[in-house]
């Protein structure tokens, strides 16, 4: 095959990284696992698994209220985790980091709390066609409650956003722009800077759905100047069950609570309840303590390898993948070809994505097939579903070749 392998970078030791991920030793159907479903969830390095196990073995207790040794230890570790997240995404203050259940809950929190308090009939919520359902439905719910309207920025035929149409959609009626930083289907890194500047010019705020971004490109919320940033731990090599909402202090401070319960209050009487300070106002109930500690460890691990080095490695994998797929007859890659982060979605003439996924699965290759929780985008392309290869720091060029070979074989058999 006349394909050039990605150049080997001296300082990127993928074999050493792979050795840190125990699950890569699993052999589905006796085959070597090739895991290319990283946009759905990433695997956990041993240090994260051990950190959480160690927490339960030596430190576990409830946080913020216990007057005893273990509770103090657990509280300190939980709050250290918050600071790790703060520094990782470049937030100015620790109070700006709210732990949630995931990206979905982070967006629901903003839609419900900020949206409920700030949206009025006729106001516009600006989204794009390629949003994940979790960045569409919460806005539909609050729009129904408040009379605000969704305004969807149309895409160019290749699935990209044009600057002109983006700027056109953000007007004095816009209250909030909520948009994926990286599309979970197209993998395109959205040029959010222009959009954020325009939103601020008209007095609107911006939420970035960073679920697909944080593990794959450097994110600095202060440089971006976004107002809210949401992401999930399990897509950045951390545990499931926890996510992050970053919000600018002044915004979070003025927002009403999202859920009521323990930990989020200062004083409760039946006549009147006063709320706790940030970030606790938004963390009702016992938080996911072990998960926060696991997430912090995952971010430290990510930082120790370096997001820039990982992004460069993944860029080469994706380029290699696109080159190989382009060489297979009747395979069409979705989305703009430039600025692609870690995700390659495609359709193949005459063969349904689910048949491809089943076929590859039996070769030990895990991919995703379906609508990827982005049905409006599937409708835009006029397809019911697509197949998706998504890479992470531990994937290799060899794995990409195995997947492409299996795809070629699958199409040969099923067509």
């Amino acid at each position: 095959m006349p394909m050039s392998l990605p150049e080997v970078t001296v300082d990127y030791d993928v074999e050493r990284i792979r050795a840190d991920f125990p699950i890569l030793g699993v052999k589905p159907y006796g085959k070597q696992l090739v895991y290319l479903d990283n946009a759905a969830t990433t695997h956990k390095p041993r240090c994260v698994i051990e950190e959480m196990s160690n927490y339960y073995a030596t430190m576990h207790s409830n946080v913020h209220r216990g007057i005893h040794y273990l509770s103090e230890q657990a509280t300190a570790a939980y709050e250290r985790a918050r600071e790790t997240v703060q520094h990782f995404i470049g937030a100015a203050r620790r109070e700006e980091i709210v732990f949630t259940r995931g990206t979905t809950e982070s967006i629901n929190l903003v839609a419900s709390s900020w949206g409920g308090a700030n949206l009025r009939a006729g106001d516009e919520i600006v989204l794009t066609v390629f949003e994940h359902h979790s960045n569409i439905v919460p806005w539909q719910l609050v729009a129904e409650r408040t009379g605000a309207k969704l305004r969807v920025i149309p895409l160019e035929s290749d699935g990209s956003l044009s600057v002109e149409r983006t700027l056109d959609a953000i007007t004095e009626r816009t209250r909030i722009v909520s948009i994926a930083h990286v599309s979970n289907v197209l993998g395109c890194i959205v040029p959010v800077e222009i959009l954020i500047a325009q939103a601020h010019r008209v007095g609107a705020v911006v939420l970035l759905d960073g679920a697909q971004a944080v593990a794959h490109c450097s994110v600095n919320v202060r440089q971006l100047d976004c107002d809210f940033y949401a992401f999930s731990s399990h897509k950045v090599y951390g545990p499931t069950g926890i996510g992050v909402l970053y919000g600018k202090f002044e915004l979070l401070d003025r927002m009403p609570p999202y859920q009521g319960g323990g930990d989020m209050i200062r004083r409760v009487t039946f006549e009147r309840t006063t709320y706790n300070e940030l970030p606790y106002k938004f963390e009702a109930g016992t938080p996911p303590i072990a998960e926060a500690i696991g997430l912090a460890r995952a971010l430290e691990y990510l930082g120790s390898i370096g997001v820039v080095a990982i992004a460069e490695w993944e860029r080469r994998l994706v380029e290699h993948c696109c080159n190989l797929l382009a060489g297979i007859e009747g395979v069409h890659i979705l989305g703009p070809q430039s600025d692609r982060a870690a995700v390659v979605s495609f359709v193949a003439d005459g063969v349904h994505p689910h048949d491809i996924a089943t076929f590859l699965d039996r070769e030990g290759i895990a991919i995703r097939a379906g609508h990827h929780c982005a049905q409006p985008l599937m409708d835009f392309f006029g397809i019911p579903a697509s197949s998706r290869f998504s890479v992470a720091m531990y994937n290799t060029p060899d794995e990409i070749e195995r997947a492409a070979d299996a795809l070629r074989k699958c199409l040969y058999v099923l067509r």
Binding site: P353, D355, T358, R362, A385, V413, L414
Partner: protein, 153 residues
């Protein structure tokens, strides 16, 4: 080309043939029963049209839609199997087919009653794909029960 055993049992030549050239494909004139089947998990979707005579015989049946090889082949095979049967016989066949494809893959199945549908038994080794094989049949049931849209996932 050599395939793993379970894959060759799932994608048997008969199934691939029905996927490439589905039988009874397209709209039906003057249908008496219509329903749409949809699997939101994978986006598979099909419309089923039946013309049932007053005596309860399925005179004609056709389908249209988008779906994977298993769901297309299953719909195609279903139309062949139920055409000319009475409604009661078609319902009975669905119940036998349903219990066969949802049974453990090592269980013996009375294949005599299933006719050509036996080629679909390979899905038993692929639990995530059973819905693909049964979508057409759930849509049939919906059509016979008054029509509309049926969703499986």
């Amino acid at each position: 080309m050599m395939l793993p055993d379970e894959l060759s049992s799932l994608y048997q030549e008969v199934i691939l043939d029905h996927n490439r050239s589905p039988r009874n494909y397209g709209k039906l004139d003057a249908p008496t029963h219509v329903a749409e089947g949809f699997n939101p998990l994978c986006g598979d979707q099909l419309e089923l049209y039946l013309r049932v005579r007053d005596d309860g015989t399925i005179e004609d049946v056709r389908f249209e839609g988008k779906g994977c090889a298993i769901s297309r082949a299953s719909a195609s095979l279903m139309t062949e199997e139920i055409k000319g049967k009475s409604l009661a016989e078609a319902r009975d066949l669905f119940s036998k087919f349903h219990s066969a494809v949802t049974s453990d893959s090592d269980r013996m199945v009375d294949t005599g009653e299933l006719g050509k549908l036996v080629v679909l038994l390979g899905v038993r080794q692929f639990p995530t794909r059973v819905k693909c094989a049964t979508l057409a049949w759930h849509t049939l049931e919906q059509a016979l029960n008054g029509g509309g849209r049926v969703t499986t996932e």
